[in-house]
Symmetry: C2
Subunit: 362 residues, 2 copies
């Protein structure tokens, strides 16, 4: 197969490249590199998509009215406060174009698309480096200090790749300060479904400068369909909409989103499963010599490599055995000693532990 040079993105989920490189089929790879919930496959999505296949022959509804209405009921906010997009990622880019901050503060390590979107919209980054010795936790006072000369604060809660969750009172302090000073806050809650009680959606009424991003991709596992949304003050949503390109959300993504919202109870169990397996995985990772896992509130675990090998070496070695993990060396604020693994099903996690043991101690 001819090679296509790709250098613009580096994220998890690169099963196609790994499959090609090692001559295995994508189905044979266990993907710990993408933070997708492995139990989402039990939500009945295949059936509902099969029943709605005729929709592929019609244009999608650019504003996903049906899904927006369900979200409105579910979240207890008006439809005008919601914008559905092609994953949360589309809205990161739209929000940057709409707010157009000259400077934005980004605590790192975090998801790299914030920085890219900011720069493409003409903005400049002020990094706040989270400290390894503090477990990469966010120092709220340092953030507020750093935010004095910016027009936007970008936060991911729980944070990717650290798994840290900033508690409500600290978050309050940040957004209230930002609101007072007219600074926009882009709060990515893509992983909040694993800890839904920490969402700040109910703060929207008082915070006109707060944009919250949510995702169906991770908790509900529809990474391949692309679905996310933003909630914010009406005038801000309206402004973001004015930059939106038409038809970005495909028909089947909307169908899936509607099904998920109508069957949220089916998804409840997924949360407990994740917590249980995360706990087991964390404990088992702790037992492996040469690595140190960080406690996580999301469905992935950041791991420090203490042995004298690099993250790229470890990632390569695991990939040879069909196990894909996220080499974190391209995260701003992390060196070449970190990998990230998703929490998967028991048997899969066991294989990861086994492979890690072999490579690190074998």
């Amino acid at each position: 197969m001819k090679k296509i040079k790709v250098s613009k993105f580096s994220h998890g989920g690169g099963i196609y490249q790994v499959a090609e490189k090692y001559g295995i089929s994508p189905e044979e790879i266990i993907d710990f590199s993408a933070n997708v919930n492995p139990w989402g496959t039990s939500l009945g999505l295949e059936k509902i998509i099969k029943e709605n296949l005729q929709s592929i022959f019609r244009y999608p509804d650019t504003y996903c009215r049906k899904l927006t209405l369900l979200l409105s009921n579910h979240l207890g906010i008006a439809c005008d406060n919601i914008l559905v997009g092609n994953g949360a990622t589309e809205i990161i880019y739209l929000a940057m174009r709409a707010v157009k901050p000259r400077y934005a503060v980004i605590p790192v390590p975090t998801f790299s698309e914030y920085e890219r979107a900011l720069k493409l919209a003409g903005g400049q980054v002020k990094f706040l480096y989270l400290k390894e010795r503090q477990g990469f936790s966010l120092n709220v006072d340092a953030l507020i200090e750093k935010a004095k000369k910016v027009q936007m604060i970008i936060l991911c809660n729980p944070n990717n790749p650290t798994g840290n969750l900033l508690p409500g009172e600290e978050m309050d302090k940040i957004i209230n300060n930002a609101e007072k000073k007219g600074i926009a806050t882009l709060l990515d809650e893509s992983f909040i479904d694993f800890q839904p009680e920490f969402t700040l959606v109910d703060k929207l009424k008082k915070n006109k400068n707060l944009i919250i991003l949510r995702s169906f991709t991770k908790f509900f596992s529809i990474a391949g369909l692309r679905l996310g949304y933003a909630v914010a003050d009406k005038s801000l949503i309206s402004k973001i909409k004015s930059f939106k390109e038409p038809w970005t959300v495909n028909c089947l993504a909307e169908v899936a989103g509607i099904h998920i919202l109508k069957n949220l109870k089916r998804a409840e169990g997924l949360r407990e499963k994740t917590k249980r397996e995360r706990s087991v995985l964390y404990e088992n990772l702790c037992r492996i010599k040469g690595i140190k896992p960080y406690p996580s509130q999301a469905n992935f675990i950041l791991i420090k490599i203490k042995a004298s090998i690099s993250s790229s070496y470890l990632t390569e070695e695991l990939a040879k055995g069909g196990i894909l993990v996220r080499d974190c060396s391209n995260f701003s604020g992390l060196g070449d000693k970190f990998i990230r693994v998703a929490v998967r099903k028991k048997e899969e996690n066991r294989k990861l532990i086994c492979s890690l043991n072999q490579i690190l101690t074998g």
Copy 2:
């Protein structure tokens, strides 16, 4: 159902709004407003999507490597000359950001997203008004003259909504002149599959400033899945890629695209069917008093209303009977006397003719 205000776009395919307004189900509406080939449903796409449903649980390949490789073989150009997108529309917006013309000339009436994308990228439009008395045909010399002070020429061939096809030698004159002067040409060939011998893909080698857009949406009917692509010089594709957001093309769209390219022979017959039905529809439209259809080389027909009613009135009246046509009054360069209808299956076209007759002569 609560209303969501939508004013940012106005295109065909608004079956959801019409269904809501008149209390009918979207399935009961015959949609002549979206230029989607009604025979695409016979390409076996439902089956292939069912077989690939597991892909929804994995991230898509941002660069659609498999599809790009097939396109490369099909078009006889390198993978580096191709960029797959969320419909041709995504690439219109990306191309504007990459080229960033201060001014661009757009012959109108045409697809409105060019103008919107140009303006969002900070550019200004110079319209070239196509003349009704000349059947909205493009005067090449006038275009070249108008292009003297712009950085981009935007063309749609065959043109939407007029259905006019600019022949090869005239197109050559435009792109050669543009190349000589370093002006970018964005050539939207979204409807060229109905007249594939007129594509300019083989001109890419000599034209470093030519960007050609292609679509799977119209001819192959997958409007709901979103799939299109650009072909251009490698350096230009690379530049456009640098603005691309990740994962915009969903997994099932790529699966559908791959299936279509592997089974192009099945699609051959669609072209003849369209031509045959277009010819019948055109003849029948000619016979209705009070309207005048324009000859078309695509799968839609522009209609001038000569009777003393507006396009919005006619569109409303037709919608009451479940027939959706495109009110063209928001096309720059057209007044309130034009509608556009897609060429559909024989029986559906007959219903359109019948309804038009009732409203216009009844």
